[in-house]
Symmetry: C2
Subunit: 360 residues, 2 copies
Amino acid sequence: MRTLNVALGERAYPIRIGRGLLDDPTLITPYLKKPRVVVVTNDVVAPLYLQRLTEALSAAGVTVAATVLPDGEAHKNWETLNLVFDDLLRSRCERSTTLIALGGGVVGDMGGFAAATYQRGMPFIQVPTTLLSQVDSSVGGKTAINHPLGKNMIGAFYQPRLVLADVDTLDTLPDRELSAGLAEVIKYGLIRDPDFFLWLEQNIERLRARETDALEYAIERSCANKAEVVVADETEQGVRALLNLGHTFGHAIEAGMGYGAWLHGEAVAAGTLMAAELSRRLGWLSTTDVARIEDIHRRAGLPAHGPELPVDRYLDLMASDKKVEGGRLRLVLLETIGRAVIHDGASVADISAAIRARGQ
Amino acid sequence: MRTLNVALGERAYPIRIGRGLLDDPTLITPYLKKPRVVVVTNDVVAPLYLQRLTEALSAAGVTVAATVLPDGEAHKNWETLNLVFDDLLRSRCERSTTLIALGGGVVGDMGGFAAATYQRGMPFIQVPTTLLSQVDSSVGGKTAINHPLGKNMIGAFYQPRLVLADVDTLDTLPDRELSAGLAEVIKYGLIRDPDFFLWLEQNIERLRARETDALEYAIERSCANKAEVVVADETEQGVRALLNLGHTFGHAIEAGMGYGAWLHGEAVAAGTLMAAELSRRLGWLSTTDVARIEDIHRRAGLPAHGPELPVDRYLDLMASDKKVEGGRLRLVLLETIGRAVIHDGASVADISAAIRARGQ
């Protein structure tokens, strides 16, 4: 088991990475205020892992209840969140009860937001079961639900007390979702870790084959990169925005196609290629750089082009994204492979050309 | 103008108390990140004060939009909150836009929760227009909405950047609401400030007559008391719970009668008399103490008895309040006038007897 510490002062917490973690309640019990937990999960993950987690905790004397949500980004909304509140209130959970989010990014986002707001805050533990959530959404305390007018528009910064990334859970992950997780892994190499990008160019097939060593290393290194950024800028006033490489384009794809049609990682992959293309047009990346970025995405099983969506629709959706300041679009672009910058000087013509170059 | 500082470290903020504050934009503009604000108010307050605030800010070069909510505790729910999110998103407000809550406790709670969660947090200013919100809900960062199964069950701790308590706005406050505010003023005397309780016994009629000096003094002293408690315990892990004197009984009254039938302050007044009666039964307060407490409430225009509601209904509603730990009811009781304690040892029989003694 590998352990990484997210050094957020009094909100510091450990991330544990390894196999068999779900079966070891002693990893969890030291972080409970009272021996009572509510597990928030979904109807895909529950049949696979809920019983294992429940039995392990029950054997350790912890009272366990569960709320099973419908699976999918399309359900990341107030109505579904209210199922959690209804259960918490009906079973009269106290604010000393701990909420455990068992599932992917949607479960983590909703479970985290429920924990952040139920009785103004209850303790929270993340047990991410997808590669995407293990390397990205479980680190950094961002929680949210979607609004019909925008993704992640309602949420909170709320740190978990513990993250357990059990690599076992990746064994049942569909190939498409594994690839979607790799999009965020590749991102860390692109924005701030050129050595990791080189490692990924050499090892991407080992990750797709789910080799334990490779997965544990990639998860740890991704989380370490994210944790460093989050510690430097917990509430995204500055450098944390660099983590959004490809996300402004990507969010437009997700919203434009209807949440759930494209996986978040797939949209980020296509968005990253758009950001790379725009960076090339600004004279920062070479054609070779863009080809390397396209190549690693293809080998990871990810799309290198966006869906059929009019450029105007992209621009409109991007304008309502959170990354707008003073009416100018602030984009994360690449100065080189391994170094990202925030740039608000790209012309609409260049942005449109980059979208078109990477459109269907 | 009086100024009080709430010393919450990097979340510190000033409370300004006086007349004519709404007309002076220089009190507000130093606290804006960008010259753009959204005022959240309700359909009772808007006709009275929205134009004044808007004109003052506009003259200072601030872009002002407004969201007018229906008035009343019955609307403190997700559906109404969503009107704020809809407006913020439709007008593409950025997270650098400041939300100003102009109104009473409900507007402050909802505006604050909207600010806490819109794009995971936007700057927030409170302009409380009722005595209750000036002395209580605008200080301390508690924000929330109600859930059908419980009051204030979904919320966040989120501090404003500034509180402007303009005493002018009390001139239009109905007598009944002024009295409701006095319930919380009296509370500070009872739980931690015996000298202030004596002052109130001498000056309660001056407050009901809305004499400026008396109001400013009572607001400042109330806020100072609350601020001291909040600074000692921002997220209510300990002493902050003392502020809930009368509230567990009071919340049962509000929920049991249907939100809005009893004003919050009226319910707290009746609840405080129940807590006083229970404190007498435990041998802490004398009969004379209870009579003094009843007298000041009556002179403040407040009920000294609860509504017709079965004792079992009280107990059931109180059990689902947030003040339950380990299944035992934690009540705020009075050791003496001026000193409150948290007590979880009262028997159901004694609690029931206290409710009955102060029932209709």
